[in-house]
């Protein structure tokens, strides 16, 4: 009885009695790496639905979830791409009703750079960590071929950082500051004609990496009729070039209608301003011209309110979700495949990332061992050579020394010889001197005989 494995086939209808009993045999090894087959998984997926006879209380679950999120705080990262002076900073200021940064940027940067700033905003009990990334110098160069590469690199770098954190052994994902770009506001200049080539290229290279929302900046430079034509032209160009911009989600009934209608208003024509102008008897944010006042929050004048609605109030969570489940997963898949990992091995056996990783690790380790060995050998060899050279030199030195010593010895002997000779001469001379002195003394005593003796002697 205890070892029977009984499993009832289940049907997909949830109201059917499809109970699933699993009897686990007493497992000897503690953890079994079981790969649940798809079929089993599908069977488990159709549980029976139950009616309760009273109030249990788990309807507070969404609130528990929300409370936890409030505690953790939210993170939102916006990337603004557009030419210098097109109104990116002003629009962000207006969107979040805050004066973030004041100075204008120069037009003379030689390369496109990205500047990121993080701000902490709080509204009632919601804490938002907002990161604004601006492209500095976009579209200013004479040669714009490399303009979009830094942007792509930046986005990839954020994904990479998250991937690294996720792959760590000891990781802390729940308090990781998520810096992945959630939305890209692409600012199109209000020429009224069509998309610029740079815009098209940039959007094409970004659309698989980030949610793009195109906006027409400085929309007060276009008249209403021109605007309509412009919008239609833009959208048709985007579609015909296969650029995938972000579509507001229409699968949830509460927001489907409004999202669908907003989808028709893309791209939003926006005007940004933090200056206040008195209109009627209220102070509103607006831009004042001699011929009239463009009110930012007036829906007839521009689409700013729509943008704010869509970006923040309705779809912020969906933007983050899409970034995580679509763009990040795509990046991760590509990166891991690039590194040689696969899910399915040569015989269609499911390979685990773990095994591949391990295999690679072994490989690298082996490689490293081999290189170490090689270097060791090289080192030993060099040392030997050096030793040989030194020995040779030493021998030579020794030989020289010996030679010198010998020479020295000989010299010394010769000198000794000379000295001996000299001493003998000295002795002979002193003897001679002594005898001659005696002779002199004797000649003084007997002068005559000495002379005769001397003469005799001299003969």
């Amino acid at each position: 009885h205890g070892t029977d494995l009984c499993r009832h086939p289940s049907s997909k209808k949830t109201l059917c009695r499809s109970q699933l009993f699993q009897s686990h045999i007493t497992t000897k090894t503690a953890h079994t790496s079981s790969q649940v087959s798809d079929h089993e998984q599908k069977q488990k997926d159709s549980p029976r639905s139950l009616t309760m006879s009273g109030h249990v209380g788990f309807e507070s679950l969404p609130d528990q979830l929300v409370n936890r999120s409030i505690q953790q705080g939210f993170c939102f990262n916006i990337l603004c791409v557009g030419e210098t002076g097109i109104g990116k900073s002003t629009l962000i200021d207006t969107l979040f009703n805050t004066n973030f940064e004041d100075h204008e940027s120069s037009h003379f940067y030689p390369h496109v750079r990205l500047k990121a700033q993080t701000y902490e905003l709080q509204e009632s009990n919601v804490r938002l960590k907002l990161t604004i990334v601006n492209t500095v110098g976009f579209g200013d160069q004479i040669n714009k071929e490399e303009s979009y590469q830094p942007i792509v690199d930046y986005i990839d770098a954020q994904f990479e950082a998250y991937l690294q954190e996720e792959l760590k052994i000891k990781r802390s994902l729940f308090n990781y500051h998520d810096s992945r770009v959630h939305v890209c506001l692409y600012f199109i200049s209000p020429t009224g004609h069509s998309l610029k080539t740079l815009d098209l290229l940039t959007m094409k290279s970004l659309d698989s990496k980030v949610n793009i929302i195109p906006v027409i900046a400085k929309a007060d430079a276009i008249s209403k009729t021109e605007l309509q034509k412009f919008k239609i032209k833009l959208m048709s160009e985007l579609v015909s070039n296969g650029v995938q911009i972000y579509q507001f989600p229409t699968d949830d009934e509460t927001i489907a209608k409004i999202n669908a209608s907003m989808n028709g208003h893309l791209p939003f024509a926006v005007v940004g301003s933090m200056d206040e102008v008195k209109v009627g008897n209220k102070m509103v944010k607006a831009r004042q011209y001699p011929w009239g006042v463009v009110q930012v929050e007036n829906e007839n004048h521009c689409d700013f309110v729509k943008l704010r609605e869509m970006l923040i109030c309705t779809n912020m969570e969906d933007l983050r979700d899409q970034t995580h489940t679509r763009h990040y997963e795509l990046y991760r898949r590509r990166k891991l495949e690039e590194m040689g990992f696969m899910d399915v091995g040569p015989e269609n056996q499911p390979l685990s990332l773990q095994e591949t990783y391990e295999a690679k690790r072994h490989e690298f380790y082996g490689e490293r061992q081999r290189k170490e060995e090689e270097m060791k050998q090289l080192f030993v060899q060099r040392v030997k050579e050096k030793e040989a050279i030194l020995k040779e030199a030493e021998r030579e030195l020794q030989a020289k020394f010996e030679h010198l010593k010998r020479v020295h010895q000989e010299e010394k002997l010769r000198l000794e010889e000379k000295r001996r000779l000299l001493e003998e001469e000295i002795m002979a001379f002193s003897k001679k001197k002594a005898t001659s002195e005696i002779y002199q003394n004797q000649t003084f005593m007997t002068p005559g005989s000495n002379l005769r003796k001397d003469k005799d002697r001299k003969k």
């Binding site: 699933l20 079994t32 139950l50 249990v56 030689p110 919601v126 052994i169 109030c313 997963e329 991760r332």
Partner: protein
């Protein structure tokens, strides 16, 4: 070199500047609407909760589960029609979907008949630990796939309710062994089963003795002290910790008391009302598990227990010899018998000095 000319390298273009500015907002923006968005998303996806009940037979586990979720999750076994006692420990899992006010909850309950029923109960916790680790393993395998699913199905055990028999004395060796091992792997909530056999004073004394036992053996049951995040949590959780283990009574029959229909057990000397705080502490258990701490249970399982399992699992598969940079950074583990974790890996956290460089493939 022109200071403005900087090619953004991956490390320098990370947006997290440690200096984050707090800004004064001048008006309403609408950020708090994100909470509603979260709620909508959560309601659409539904919730999952996996619970495991462990205890000897006859302690009222099945009845308790039925009472908790107010439905017939299992047919409670009557003595006469009982199936013969299982010879070995088995695990039965049952999954249901229950809905309340638009909130869908996929509930999985795992029962462990045969636990502690044999003559020789040595290592009876191994199958349970094995099951728990198997769920972690499944999640891990899903997580490290190249092409992952959008939403990984969560079968990990979020909470384990341990039924302590109402002896009135103290925790038995079997209880201690089991609790010690399981507290490291999963959130454990011990309860005093069949508390209607103890008077109120006996209950309190028993409870204090159990708390002392737990402290002596450094067994951390849920809510764990070390995971309290802020002051509010601490206050709330210490109130709960004072009452652990709850003395509960389970019942799935309704009786009339004072004109009301209540769940209770009818005896000759009175009716024990399950939902009455004066009679038993079932409401506390239900509130803890479902109404206030369900999300917290899931979070701790995901952030702590699963991560611990992952670390040990990823490390032990490195069968390479430990190189010269191997550093043991973990503090000494509390005195535990060998084989605390079901896996043979070391219980302490080991860390290679070149850990982070492992990931640069």
């Amino acid at each position: 070199m022109d200071p403005l000319r900087q090619s953004p390298s991956p490390s320098s273009s990370r947006a997290s500047s440690p200096r984050t500015l707090s800004c004064e907002r001048l008006g309403y923006v609408g950020i708090e609407a994100v909470l509603d968005q979260l709620k909508i998303k959560a309601m659409k996806m539904g919730f999952e909760f996996n619970i495991m009940v462990v205890g000897q037979s006859g302690l009222g586990k099945s009845t308790m589960v039925n009472t908790l979720f107010k439905s017939k999750i299992w047919k409670s076994t009557m003595p006469g029609l009982r199936v013969p006692m299982p010879q070995t420990l088995q695990l039965h899992s049952v999954t249901h979907v229950i809905e309340e006010n638009g909130v869908k909850l996929k509930l999985t309950v795992t029962d462990t008949p045969g636990f502690g029923d044999q003559i020789n109960n040595d290592k009876c916790w191994d199958p349970i630990l094995g099951y728990i680790n198997e769920q972690y393993e499944r999640y891990l395998q899903e997580e490290i796939l190249i092409t992952r699913q959008r939403h990984i199905p969560d079968t990990r055990v979020h909470c384990c309710i341990y039924f302590v028999p109402p002896t009135g004395h103290c925790l038995r060796p079997l209880d201690l062994e089991f609790l010690q091992r399981l507290c490291r792997a999963v959130n454990v909530v011990p309860v005093i089963a069949r508390a209607d056999s103890l008077t109120i004073e006996e209950r309190e004394a028993f409870r204090h003795r159990i708390q002392d036992d737990l402290k002596t053996h450094s067994i951390e049951v849920y809510p764990q002290k070390s995971f309290d995040e802020d002051v509010n949590d601490k206050i709330l959780n210490s109130k709960i910790r004072e009452r652990i283990p709850f003395a509960v009574v389970g019942a799935d029959r309704e009786h009339m008391v004072n004109g009301r229909c209540v769940l209770g057990r009818k005896t000759k000397w009175g009716i024990i009302e399950v939902e009455n705080m004066a009679h038993c502490e079932f409401p506390l258990l239900r509130d803890l598990l479902i109404r206030s701490h369900l999300q917290d249970l899931k979070d701790i399982t995901h952030n702590v227990h699963y991560e611990n399992y992952r670390i040990i699992r990823l490390k032990e598969s490195h069968a390479l010899p430990q190189g010269p940079g191997w550093v043991n950074l973990a503090p000494a583990p509390p005195p535990a018998p060998t084989g605390t974790r079901a896996s043979p890996g070391p219980a302490k956290m080991c860390r290679w000095a070149e850990d982070n460089s492992d990931e640069d493939f």
